[in-house]
Amino acid sequence: MKTRRIGMLFGLLAVFGLLAGLLSPAVAFAATSADVTITGTPTFIAITGTDSWTINGLTGDSKMDVNTTYYSNPLGDTTSPSATVVDGECKFTVTNASSNVALDLTVNIGNFSGGDAMTNSNLGTNGANSFGAYTYYSGMTYTGKVIGKTTGSAALYSDWSGSTLKWGIELKTQSGAWTSGTAETSTATITATEHV
């Protein structure tokens, strides 16, 4: 009789342990460190292509007028590129030194500082105190130009594996009159990422 009671006691404890284990699925099947996977693709991202640009300084007098569209076009500061852009209409060159990978190229254009400090409308159109910008590259249909935003621009060139690419910027100055009369500066950043 005593043996039976001890056995029942063991049995109750055992059943309790079994239930405790099985009724804790959130813990029992929780994520484990082995589940996290990390993979790095052995590729090299490398581009070169810093450059300068004085707006209206390629063939003009380096002074900007308001409400005017300028291009980084060596053929003329206010000369629009051809319907299909050619190398000679692009001031900038990006060189691809990457290996084992195709790239996406994206261009962001920052706000100006100094002077009237035009801001980027991020719309491609200008406003009283804002400029609009687009980017383009040699070989593209010009109407396919890409809006140049401060951040979050669409890729100018997706899946690029070439060695060099000529490209340029279209910028329409603010519509409001200048108040400062002094120079203002900005930067454009061309970003290379692996094409996925």
Partner: protein, 179 residues
């Protein structure tokens, strides 16, 4: 007597079930302070690959894919930066929101900026130096998941660049959460 055998058998099963339930990684969920060990493989030695010439600044790898990620987990992976300049150069290495996304991947939430730490970028790279920087992504326990698949970039900029047009190199981090 036979009750004893039955009881002992059930007891053993119960103990085993409890051990499985409470063992090891289960604590990751219960205790957010314990983060799992990163499982990233080391990158292939650059010497074995077709790397750019020494005088070109480069970044490797181009993308890091993290799978089965979850709140409370940590993922670390080194990115390799090479200074192609013949002088000591300061680089800005930073987390950033992507300009555009891989197919199926969505933007990070603003909190993600606080989940990423970059180790080793606080001093200039010597001329032609190649350096591994550790990128650590730690998602706090209980944090809101940005999306099932989301993306952020690690940006590398050479601060010695001047002029209107400057270049930036980015590694894509593609995160897929556990189902």
């Amino acid at each position: 007597m036979k009750y004893k055998y039955i009881a002992v058998t059930i007891l053993i099963l119960g103990v085993m079930a409890t051990c499985i339930a409470c063992g090891g990684h289960g604590q990751d969920i219960q205790n957010p302070e314990i983060t799992p060990t990163p499982t990233g493989a080391q990158p292939i030695p650059t010497e074995l690959l077709n790397m750019p010439s020494i005088d070109v600044t480069w970044l490797s790898p181009g993308k890091v894919e993290v799978g089965n990620f979850y709140a409370g987990a940590t993922a670390e992976y080194p990115i390799r930066v090479h200074n192609g300049n013949n002088v000591s150069t300061t680089f800005t290495v930073a987390y950033r929101i992507p300009d555009n996304y891989a197919t199926g991947f969505l933007p990070p939430t603003p909190e993600v900026a606080n989940w990423v730490t970059i180790i080793g970028a606080d001093t200039p790279l010597e001329a032609y130096e190649t350096r591994d920087l550790t990128i650590s992504l730690s998602m706090p326990y209980g944090a809101v998941v940005p999306a099932h698949q989301w993306e952020f970039w690690i940006s590398v900029k050479d601060n010695s660049q001047a002029g209107f047009v400057r270049t930036e190199l980015c590694t894509r981090w593609l995160i897929t959460m556990m189902e």
